[in-house]
Amino acid sequence: MNSSADVVAGASGGLALTNASERRVVLEATDLRRTFTGGSRLRPTHVSAVDGVSLTLHAGETLGIVGESGCGKSTLARMLVGLEKPDGGSLLYHGTDVTKGRASDRKLLRRGVQMIFQDPYTSLDPRMNVGDIIAEPMAATRSAPAPVRRDRVAELLGLVGLAPDMMSRYPHQFSGGQRQRIGIARALALDPDVLVCDEAVSALDVSVQAQVINLLADLQRRLGVAILFIAHDLSVVRHIADRVGVMYLGRMAELGDTETVYDTPAHPYTQALLSATPSHSRADRGKLSRRRVLGGEPPSPVNPPAGCRFNPRCWLATDECRTSQPPLRSLDLREVACHHAEQALAEAPAL
């Protein structure tokens, strides 16, 4: 039925993949794990936030990470920028192992990997003026003397579409969208190779959100910076990402070229997630009533289920799913972690 669409999506997907793999790998995460311990001292609970996630980020590409709350996408982001130390796995930056979080590792990672935070109201120090906020990364790494920093701040403000004479103002004098631009300017101060955006546009109004998305795309074209774009809004990720990874309860469920994953999702969870997303077109009204309804509540990462973590809510689950964890394997131009991906792909209704 949709075989011709498959061929088209497949062809363009293949092209994008070869392009990406020819580029330099800037960040490579292998089997990253992070478990938090909570609860009382006598009866500690273990939250398995990220459980064996691997990804590579090439120079100049945008990798989107989507998933629902509690799937570990923010913990993953914090590990990639060195704010959180992984319990297991390895993280390579330009081939150098920075997993251990030594002072030298942190120094290297700070220069190359910067983060843009979700909330533009709390991520800027209210008592510092904009000039000092943007110069802070340069001051902290002692990478430039004060007069040079001032010039660089003016340049950065221009880059993100703000007037350089706003340098002496304070964060409260700016709107949400402008503050997010300041956050982006600060992240760019050290000329990083990678920007990690954790829900960077979620807190913004729709009309302002589009401005910031365009700005990120423009900066990427001009500076060649790689972007890891984490969001729960699937339509935003679809717009901005070259490749996309879908996370579920700390694991990567599906990872591949954006068009392939959105047009022909092979993981049952990706299918359910996409079918529950309201369409931005009135013609598709009623799409939600045809969605794939997931049974049960989203399970918590405390005591995650054995085997495939999606199995209690999956309509294709078999005994195999309840006992053995499906590895991420290649299938039709994407990687998918499901024992029954072929069946899911074949039975998927057209989206």
């Binding site: 629902e68 709350s69 709107s175 949400g176 969208g177 402008q178 109004d205 729709v206 009309s207 302002v208 959100q209 589009a210 401005q211 998305i213 365009n214 795309a217 423009d218 729960h232 699937l234 339509s235 935003v236 679809r238 717009h239 901005i240 954006t258 068009e259 959105y262 359910a272 997630l273 529950a276 997303t277 309201p278 369409s279 931005h280 077109s281 009135r282 598709d284 009204r285 009623g286 799409k287 939600l288 009533s289 969605r291 309804v293 997931l294 049960g296 509540e297 989203p298 918590s300």
Partner: protein, 332 residues
């Protein structure tokens, strides 16, 4: 019950002014709204547009620094403005109710869910403790909480975000009100849970014949559920009408720009169309049309004269000097 002919909500010329801090801020101006029984009306707007203030004013949830005036404010045929504070209090929950966005802060953390829902039946219906508990269990089942018998004695923190939102909805519909106002009920939720909540609201609307006013900034949600639509900008309604026609052929440049600034699968790899600047603060709205500094169609008259909300076609109104052109430009 009143006759089926009366609308669930009828608002005329609603104005809300904040008087705190020694100056007056007009947050809502000249708002007219109608919600028929069994109808899903969406109120769409960005932060600061006055949509939540409108909801609170209708519910009568205002403090001493808020001044509300309206030509008429009828809920299911009853003139709210003529009621005393005590009569209003009795109407809330019974005939009109509000679902808030932040479910965790809207629930009492030291009271069990069963007691919080049961309280409604005790206060409004004089139910005994046993009856209230049974009613609470039934409602929890209705909104899809698994094993309501066991969960009724749990506290709010023991539920997930989606469940808490459903509990709030359960409380809002407990006494089968004629008018339900849902203020961003799904904003904090994941899409799979959001779909469940929208389903639930639609089902209850059909079963109970409630009028639903859904306040949201999410175009996707509007696309999915709205029968009619009102778009707010800087405290005023700028466009209103049947959702199908408004979303197909917006007659106001703001609605048009909003629809175009949303990422669309077909436009991948291209820049999104943006609206320059940001929404004005209610304290400083520009003269003339509030949208004129951000509007790509603004002409001289827009900067000096505010366009009134007038009918531009059957069943729809727009507040723009150039609505006619906009409609024709799009048609041709």
């Amino acid at each position: 019950m009143t006759t089926a002919g009366t609308p669930a909500l009828r608002v005329r010329d609603l104005n809300v002014t904040f008087t705190g801090g020694g100056r007056e801020i007009r947050a809502v101006r000249n708002v007219d709204l109608d919600v028929a029984r069994g109808e899903f009306v969406a109120l769409l707007g960005e932060s600061g547009s006055g949509k939540s203030v409108t909801a609170r004013a209708v519910m009568g949830l205002t403090d001493e620094y808020t001044r509300v005036s309206a030509a008429s404010l009828d809920v299911a045929g009853t003139d709210i403005l003529a009621l005393s504070e005590e009569e209003r209090r009795l109407m809330r929950g019974e005939r009109m109710s509000l679902v808030l966005q932040d479910a965790l802060s809207a629930l009492n953390p030291v009271m069990t869910i069963g007691n919080q829902i049961g309280e409604l039946f005790k206060v409004h219906r004089g139910a005994t403790r046993k009856q209230a508990r049974a009613a609470a269990i039934e409602l929890l089942g209705l909104v899809g909480i698994p094993a309501p018998n066991n969960r009724v004695d749990d506290y709010p923190h023991q539920f997930s975000g989606g469940m808490r939102q459903r509990i709030l909805i359960a409380m809002a519909i407990a006494l089968e009100p004629e008018m339900l106002i849902a203020d961003e009920p799904t904003t904090a939720l994941d899409v799979t849970v959001q779909a469940q909540i929208l389903d639930l609201l639609g089902r209850l609307r059909d079963q109970l014949g409630m009028g639903v006013l859904l306040i949201t900034h999410d175009l996707g949600v509007v696309m999915e559920v709205a029968d009619r639509l009102a778009v707010m900008y800087a405290g005023r309604i700028v466009e209103r009408g049947d959702a199908d026609t408004v979303l197909d052929l917006p007659a106001h440049p703001y609605t048009q720009a909003l629809l175009r600034s949303v990422p669309d699968a077909a436009a991948r790899g291209h820049d999104l169309l943006t609206i320059p600047g940001s929404p004005p603060s209610p304290a400083q709205t520009p003269p003339g049309c509030s949208f004129n500094p951000r509007c790509h169609m603004a002409i001289d008259i827009c900067r000096t004269e505010r366009p009134p909300l007038v009918d531009v076609a059957a069943g729809r109104a727009s507040a723009c000097h150039r609505s006619e052109e906009l409609l024709h430009e799009l048609v041709s």
